[in-house]
Symmetry: C2
Subunit: 587 residues, 2 copies
């Protein structure tokens, strides 16, 4: 219904920009809440932006550039009041994988391709939003997303280990990467490893151990949570100061080095059709993954305040954000989980908080970059590792195994293919496997022969219950909508039954679980009717749903049907084989 | 159930060859019935075999070779008692399309590739049968098959027009072919066209006009039907005699010419891995199309006598038939519609009729081929055109349009793509489109808000009926199984509802039409529960089916659920919002 309503007003998002809603009631209290939240998010976003830019193979300042304009655009077009947009781990990894085929990391071409990727991804999101194609993201099942995110987390962590070890190691997949790292063990730079491991340990402690201590010191749980999330900033400040004071750079420890000072530059994507074609698939996958991540964060947080987000409008907002990233020297962005939760917990009331955060990051990129010169790269690697390991959830394998083998297979296929063949192949294979398993399941429907539960008007599976039946009448219940892939299963089942029951005169199909009958299934029903008639039997339906009945009434099927359509299965049996009712009563 | 049983006995087909069943009760009456039927089918099969071999681009005798061994093998392994196996129109067209890329028509290589194609197709059918993969054919929906068969019929008819006109014309698709034919109009060979057109008219008359006349002459309807189907034989005999007597060959009319006399030769497929790889997809498509055609004919005829065919065993039988075709100089074969119906109507009782037919064709290829020397090729083209035009059913477009736009789109896409891009592309695109449309439909489920019909315990859609509701309680009915592609639709709908109903305290989901809940949907239900709890509401389920409940009970979901699971929706409402019951009674 909601969908139909939206379709009637396809341009509704244009005149009613979300900003118009909250802007009118903006007052001093809201301003203070938003400012406080944006300050905390800014502090958190600076190290994340630098780290994810490095993960994507880009200079660190590009991460800052990608955290200014996109936030402003999202504030204008987005429907979530607290979503914080910017570079995120998985999308950065996908960006690195997509660009890696076209340019060498660190080259100017590499950055140009990243900008183009943001442009294509933004354009696709915008087009999907205008065409209301948000539902396409639904075909990424939870098992596929879980497997994909976990495998991405492992891939990212493995790729950061080389920075933590102070060595060089490359590999096209998880196994190659691990092997290269093991070979590099003799070349480990000990000071780098020490800084990296200690930072990692500190960051894990701020995640797990710091909050309880802060609570014990008298802070509220929420404030403790927010404070604990500023751990990466502390790590950066301390290790950068130490590196400067102890001149670690001279001892061979890699630092971030010169980062250009200034506002995000104005840039344009590369206008090269061949490049666009080869980036099209990665850009689409980045768009879809980014959208799914962003929408699930947005929905979770909106629901807590009984607010609502509109997925198709989110596509427009994320599209505008990514387009703005491509015009201001950035790379693909989306709504991030951790930062949005911090924004929410810190009390952000409106998207204006995002604008203030953007201003904060702009100030940082104007004035703070010289302070980053001595920042050890190992510190940034540690922040990434700690962030992404929380994404890895191998327990999903166990949980899906217990619940459903098909879902387990989908997780496993996505996980293994992502680790072995990279993010793009992994994602595509995962979607294909999950769709194939769904089709397989619906093509093998549960079809129960039912009988009357004595003393009631209920019919149940003859295999599970003591029920009354008659050799004259066969009652079947189909537990799936009828469509081309399962219509033949019903035909086969009925053919078998008819061959086994020489005395049967009537077959009644209970349609209570049939939500739709497509043209193939209609032909199957006609074939069943013809065959039953040839075999001297008649074919009846019972409990056909209203919409299905409306549909059938547009055809000749009901007129030609050898039997009748009954409102309830009990009525059908009462008329066709009343002996069942009597036998059921005497029992 | 049936499927599960079969799985427990995966090798059941081995000890119980179908032949063992009917062989024991074989008596004189059955023998006579089978002999009569086989005689009629032999007479019908000879011209068809020649014509379809020419259609496949092969010498005419290859059609006879393909109609001997495969019939014997089918009789041994097949489960249909009346199916007549041999070359058929659509598979011959697909064979021509597959081989055309590898060898020039008429060359020895061309025949070798045809033999290899039969081998690969036979091997695939056999493997699919042993692995019980017959269900894969179910993914060819009726609309796709209809569109494909109609387009194939048009393609075949267009390809035969050049023989009817006595000209040369080639084209890679329907439009090119038609254009080439139009350009050749000035070069038409008038005698050929005359013979072709008159034969075509005669054959159409035997199909439509002859039967009523025969019935008027006192024949039974069945005998009239069978006699009318021997029209092609009469056409062949008369035109061949005329061509000999009037020396049409000297006047430029093309005749079949020398056909080697003798039994089918022993042959082997080409053992060339590169060739196999490039033939793999066509062989698979030929296997699937042949299997679908054969099984639907077999099922229709078996049902008339309350017999049954086993699709997986049919795969084995068709596989053996095609393998035998490849070892005896044949090309891909399958069960044909017209000849099987004739076999059935003429009274065939057992597959032995097929063996007698095979013997008849073997005799024909030993002794009758010299008589074919003067047979005009235009006569064979006319038999093909008349046969395939009966396959063309453009009415399917109108019927599917009326019934379902999705099915209409699937027919149209298959039809147009087959005409424009050939049989292989057409079939693959058709399957992809029909699957995509099915997924699209299930991803947009019908979710109704329901209320109590006053004075009953029934709940109906609030938009369609006058029902009682309460601002405290939201009742939703989901009309689709919950899986990853539609779980978010339910989340969205509930998020919207909750945002719209500030007074709501309970949400009850009526699950009567939910046949399955996958892991993604389970996570969605958990998310819905969490969000409702955050919004101060509780989440209840009602009328959960037994198998779904069994499944949910393996998880933590039911323990964590903020609300309860009710047996009936009425019970849920009675406990959660009893004011609805009262208001409904006072109305």
């Amino acid at each position: 219904m909601a969908t139909a309503d939206r379709r009637l007003q396809p341009m509704r998002w244009l005149p009613s920009l979300p900003i118009l809603k909250w802007c009118q009631s903006y007052d001093r209290d809201t301003l203070v809440s938003d400012l406080v939240a944006s300050l905390i998010v800014t502090i958190m976003l600076i190290p994340q932006s630098l780290a994810y830019a490095l993960l994507a193979g880009l200079p660190p300042e590009v991460g800052l550039y990608a955290s200014v304009a996109p936030l402003v655009l999202y504030a204008l077009f987005g429907t979530s009041r607290v979503l914080a947009v910017g570079p995120v781990a998985v999308v950065s990894l996908m960006t690195a994988a997509a660009i890696g085929e076209h340019a060498a990391a660190g080259s100017p071409q590499y950055w140009a391709v990243a900008i183009t990727l943001a442009f294509l991804s933004g354009a696709m999101l915008l087009i999907m939003g205008v065409l209301r194609l948000g539902f396409l993201a639904n075909f990424l099942s939870h098992p596929v997303i879980s497997g994909f995110i976990s495998a991405s987390g492992l891939l990212i962590a493995a790729s950061q280990l080389k920075t933590l070890m102070g060595v060089k190691a490359e590999g096209h997949n998880f196994i190659e990467l691990t092997q290269a790292l093991i070979q590099q063990v003799p070349n480990i730079h000990m000071l780098t490893l020490l800084v990296g491991v200690l930072t990692t340990a500190f960051l894990f402690w701020t995640r797990k151990g710091l909050k309880p201590q802060l609570v014990r010191l008298g802070l509220t749980a929420r404030m403790a949570d927010v404070l604990a999330k500023t751990g990466p900033v502390a790590a950066i400040a301390v290790t950068a100061l130490l590196a400067w004071a102890l001149d670690w750079k001279a001892q061979g420890l890699k630092v971030v080095g010169s980062v250009p000072q200034g506002l995000p530059p104005l840039t344009l994507p590369v206008w090269d059709l061949a490049l666009w074609q080869s980036l099209a698939v990665p850009a689409l996958l980045i768009s879809v993954v980014g959208f799914v991540e962003s929408v699930s964060v947005g929905q979770t947080l909106a629901a807590k305040r009984r607010q609502r987000i509109e997925p198709d409008q989110e596509l427009v907002a994320l599209g505008a954000s990514n387009l703005s990233a491509s015009f201001t020297g950035g790379f693909p962005v989306t709504g991030g989980f951790a930062r949005s939760v911090v924004n929410f917990d810190a009390g952000a009331q409106t998207p204006a908080a995002g604008v203030y955060t953007a201003a904060g990051i702009a100030l940082a990129s104007l004035f703070m970059t010289p302070a980053l010169y001595f920042l050890p790269q190992a510190t940034l690697a540690a922040t990434i590792i700690v962030a992404v390991l929380s994404l890895v959830d191998l327990g999903i394998l166990k949980r899906t195994w217990a619940y459903s083998r098909a879902d387990f297979l989908a997780v496993l296929a996505t996980l293994l293919m992502t680790l072995a063949q990279g993010v793009e192949v992994g994602l595509v294979v995962g979607v294909a496997v999950s769709l194939a398993l769904f089709l397989y399941r619906t093509s093998r429907p549960h079809i129960a022969e039912v009988g009357l539960v004595p003393g009631t008007e209920h019919f149940r599976n003859v295999l599970r219950h003591e029920v009354a039946t008659s050799p004259q009448l066969v009652s079947l219940r189909m537990d799936e909508s009828l469509y081309f892939a399962n219509a033949r299963a019903l035909e086969d089942r009925i053919n078998d039954l008819v061959a086994d029951r020489p005395d049967a005169r009537h077959l009644v199909l209970q349609c209570s679980a049939i939500n739709n009958i497509d043209a193939s299934a209609l032909e199957s029903l006609e074939a069943i009717d013809r065959r039953l008639r040839d075999a001297g039997m008649s074919f009846h339906l019972s409990e056909v749903k209203g919409p299905v009945m409306d549909h059938l009434q547009t055809t000749e099927f009901l007129k030609r049907l050898s039997g009748k359509v009954y409102l309830s299965h009990y009525q059908a049996v009462a008329q066709l084989a009343p002996e069942i009712l009597t036998s059921s009563k005497t029992e």
